[in-house]
């Protein structure tokens, strides 16, 4: 057990900090958080800067155009960019953290060459077309149909909660290529396709979240023609391909935010000391408890990263590029809850200002409500932990 960073890791951190200090002042002012076209321009401009400095796709394998950095270097990158107040991955989230790693792991040489460089450069933005009105946490129940017509799939159906659809160029789309039957269970017969968002037959209707943002949308697909060459993985093998993506999301996609939460907690304490609420022992103790929780979540992150780096030894599974062991679900369950508790405490620190949407904590408070739902609800995560980690019998 060693929490010290190696000399190489500290050198990497030093260079990154130096670059951040020079790069960040060159960025334009951040757009309104509700302005997604503005955010796309801002986030992709930042991605371009990362690309030119050699930090794009840091954790991607080198043969996918990334830097092949170690998980610890990725951790340092997330820690220092957040500390420096650099933009979060934002509109590039799906491309960099979902579709990109999936294509890197499962795509052909041609597919990697076509799709990965534009993501790394910030030229192309991806959205996620997974969920449907009848297929949320039960994703395998999706019904959007794709029928083969020569060298194309013809796709019809609808998607919902499609993240970043309003500003995306491409969509990672899950479709059903084989109807469910006695011979084809619902987890089979699903295929992973890359769809151009400007293809004829695609209609996007932005959905407003309860935070007022249009970060996701409804999407209607009416005989959209997608070349067979834009399929990632084999036909009917999309479920396995998707699990690569989802295990990635549950494993490391949220770790950068722990640093932000710890910084916010410090700001909460300072504000409470200034406005007199610190005198309330109950509030003080809640903040102290959150301090312990977020410190432990950070340690859990370091543990997970070390295990994925070591690929074997240790008390938990794990290993390989972005595929977490049991730490991922455990982290996601506790983090999503702790983040909500943090912003509940923030509201109590703010007092009457908790009702003023101009205060950034209140936007964060609203968006924190999605954390126990997105990427598999907490209830589904608990089933996964109970069945796959603890070995309890299946419910059905």
């Amino acid at each position: 057990m060693d929490l010290r960073y190696t000399q190489d890791e500290e050198v990497f951190r030093g260079q990154l900090k130096e670059w951040l200090a020079k790069a960040l002042p060159a960025l334009p002012p951040a757009p309104d958080p509700l302005d997604w076209p503005g955010r796309r321009a801002y986030d992709t401009a930042w991605q371009r800067m990362l690309y030119e400095a050699g930090y794009a796709g840091l954790h991607w394998p080198a043969d996918a155009g990334g830097r092949g950095a170690t998980p610890t270097q990725h951790l340092i990158f997330l820690e220092e960019t957040e500390r420096a107040g650099a933009p979060y991955v934002g509109a590039n989230f799906v491309g960099l953290l979902h579709a990109g790693p999936t294509i890197a792991a499962e795509g052909t040489v041609e597919q990697r060459a076509r799709w990965l460089p534009p993501v790394l450069r910030g030229d192309e933005v991806w959205c996620q077309g997974f969920s449907e009105p009848g297929a949320g946490s039960d994703l395998a129940s999706l019904r959007t149909r794709a029928v083969r017509d020569g060298d194309h799939y013809v796709v019809s159906g609808s998607k919902v909660w499609t993240s970043h659809a309003e500003v995306a160029d491409w969509c990672e789309l899950l479709v059903r290529t084989e109807p469910v039957s006695d011979a084809v269970p619902k987890h089979r017969g699903i295929t992973w396709l890359a769809m151009r968002m400007d293809a004829p037959g695609v209609t996007v209707r932005p959905l407003r979240t309860l935070a007022g943002s249009t970060e996701f949308a409804e999407m209607f697909l009416d005989d959209v023609r997608i070349p067979v060459t834009d399929r990632v993985g084999a036909e009917n093998d999309g479920w396995r391909v998707t699990m690569v993506t989802l295990s990635y999301e549950r494993g490391t996609a949220f770790v950068g935010e722990v640093v932000a939460c710890r910084r916010t907690l410090g700001e909460l304490a300072r504000t409470a000391r200034d406005n007199g609420r610190w005198e309330d022992p109950a509030l003080r103790r809640r903040l102290g408890r959150l301090g312990a929780e977020f410190a432990a979540l950070w340690r859990l992150t370091q543990w997970n990263v070390s295990e994925s780096q070591g690929g074997g030894v240790g008390s938990r599974g794990g290993g390989g590029f972005g595929v977490p062991g049991i730490g991922g679900s455990v982290f996601k369950l506790r983090y999503s809850q702790a983040r909500q508790e943090l912003y509940e405490a923030a509201a109590d620190v703010l007092g009457p200002d908790a009702l003023d949407l101009a205060h950034p904590w209140n936007q964060d408070r609203l968006s924190s409500l999605s954390y126990t739902i997105a990427a598999g609800t907490s209830q589904i995560q608990q089933n996964i932990v109970a069945e796959r980690i603890l070995g309890l019998p299946k419910e059905r």
Partner: protein, 293 residues
């Protein structure tokens, strides 16, 4: 950064688990509940195995390891519900003669409580006004004390006590999962019901979060890095929480069986309550961490 167990650390943990399985299994635990006393022979065996001298330099006859290793063996002691003033004796190795080898049993005052006072050979700290308590834990005799100087090893004591709690939390998770797989109701193992699954998953989440905090506190306290005291306090807070709440959930999963004296669940819960009151309590930990924010 390599924040995970080394092969040597894994071997140390495996070795201690095997020792305790053989020497203090379930029958020994239940016999001890009926006749609570320190098993002096076992105490010496633990001393010979290095439990107390683990952190003494080899030049002084110790094992020469550190707090991270001590935490691993204390976690095993917590799993086994091993009784006795383990933390106090471990901390006294090198200062109280015979503590390192297990020939001397040492109790210590944390300013509020002393465990095993009457059976101990030596007491560290102020215990002049000690008055016996009818201890909630049948395997931990307690005395109440008021005040006295702070124990010099308070942070390490908190981390080691947190490790005992962690072991107990991990054990009650296993007991609950095992029972949920075996016990049938409505024609199915109760572990197939989502309500039971979610209790068990919550137990694992608490255990793993506490584990990350306890192991990290062992590393940072060892290196005397900044924040060691808040790390120790955070580890104690989360491990207390995991041990107490997991024991309660384990009892719930066991249903009526869990409410009996025969089941071991109450022993875990009662010991967890005792430990939660020792060294750094939840309220103290929260205030300490808040002050550092």
């Amino acid at each position: 950064m390599e924040f995970r167990l080394t092969d040597d650390q894994l071997a140390l943990r495996t070795g201690f688990r095997a020792l305790l399985d053989g020497r203090f299994g379930r029958e020994a635990l239940r016999a001890a509940v009926e006749r609570p006393a320190i098993d002096r022979a076992l105490w010496r065996e633990l001393g010979d195995a290095g439990l107390f001298s683990l952190r003494l330099p080899e030049a002084d006859g110790g094992v020469g390891l550190g707090l991270p290793e001590a935490v691993l063996v204390f976690e095993e002691a917590g799993r086994a519900l091993l009784p006795g003033p383990l933390v106090a004796t471990h901390l006294a190795a090198g200062t109280v003669p015979g503590a390192d080898t297990g020939r001397t049993v040492v109790a210590a005052s944390d300013g509020a409580l002393v465990e095993w006072l009457a059976e101990a050979d030596e007491v560290v700290g102020e215990a002049g006004d000690a008055r016996p308590v009818r201890s909630v834990d049948p395997l931990t005799p307690l005395h109440r004390v008021t005040g006295g100087p702070e124990h010099p090893g308070r942070s390490a004591a908190a981390v080691l006590t947190a490790a005992l709690q962690l072991g107990s939390a991990a054990r009650t998770t296993e007991l609950a999962v095992q029972y949920a797989k075996e016990r049938e109701q409505f024609g199915r193992p109760i572990g197939a019901f989502q309500a039971v699954k979610h209790l068990c998953a919550g137990m694992l989440v608490r255990t793993e979060l506490a584990r990350a905090a306890v192991y990290a506190a062992a590393v940072t306290s060892e290196g005397r890095w900044g924040g060691a005291d808040t790390d120790a306090a955070g580890a104690k807070l989360l491990a207390d929480d995991a041990a107490v709440r997991n024991a309660r959930d384990c009892l719930q999963v066991h249903g009526g069986m869990g409410f009996t004296w025969e089941s071991d669940v109450h022993l875990h819960l009662k010991r967890a309550w005792v430990r939660a009151g020792q060294w750094i309590t939840g309220a103290e930990a929260e205030e300490l961490i808040a002050a550092a924010l």
